[in-house]
Amino acid sequence: SQTIHQWPATLVQPVGSPLSLECTVEGTSNPNLYWYRQAAGRGLQLLFYSVGIGQISSEVPQNLSASRPQDRQFILSSKKLLLSDSGFYLCAWKDRKYGYTFGSGTRLTVV
């Protein structure tokens, strides 16, 4: 069966520190992968998506970056976090029936 893993579940980081969130998918190959951010009281904002290894599309300019070093691994990074980077980060992949399966999310608080 196909599953998606995200970690860590929660993270508290000081302003200016680096960030690395990891997402991995099991049970499928060459998935389309997505990073979304959900800020308090707001909807989901698409940050990045990837259709293959090394292929990253950015939807919103910001101080975040994404990488796809392996087929089923998608990483969200930042060199220096800002307070405005706080939020709930969700990884997702698109299955063959046009549904999107989401990970359990990472709650990031920048202090």
Binding site: Q6, N32, Y34, Y36, R42, G43, L44, L46, Y49, F88, L90, A92, K94, K97, Y98, G99, Y100, T101, F102, G103, S104, G105, R107
Partner: protein, 114 residues
């Protein structure tokens, strides 16, 4: 470009009452439509989706939604809600033939009171 409007940010309702969560979309092409549910501090779970065919779609947990092309709506309904239905609900749309990347509404918080 596509967009989604969830008209209600919060819907309070008593247990066992019916509920409707409204969703309207705009798109210049044909679309796929989705409803997701999010429980506190969890990811999103697919409730139901419309791809084609019957405009009445049944999903998990007793929810259903009806696609109305003329009104560009995809409202979510449940005839009798439970306390456990308290959650955030998101409507999403993705277009045919493109990247299929979904656009999400801002969400509706369903609050079920005993």
């Amino acid at each position: 470009a596509q967009s989604v409007t969830q008209l209600d940010s919060q819907v309070p309702v008593f247990e066992e009452a019916p509920v409707e969560l409204r969703c309207n979309y705009s798109s210049s092409v044909s679309v796929y439509l989705f409803w997701y549910v999010q429980y506190p501090n969890q990811g999103l779970q697919l409730l139901l989706k419309y791809l084609s065919g019957s405009t009445l779609v049944k999903g998990i947990n007793g929810f259903e939604a009806e696609f109305n092309k003329s009104q560009t709506s995809f409202h979510l309904r449940k005839p009798s809600v439970h306390i456990s239905d308290t959650a955030e609900y998101f409507c999403a749309v993705s277009d045919w033939g493109g990247s299929y990347i979904p656009t999400f509404g801002r969400g509706t918080s369903l609050i079920v009171h005993p």
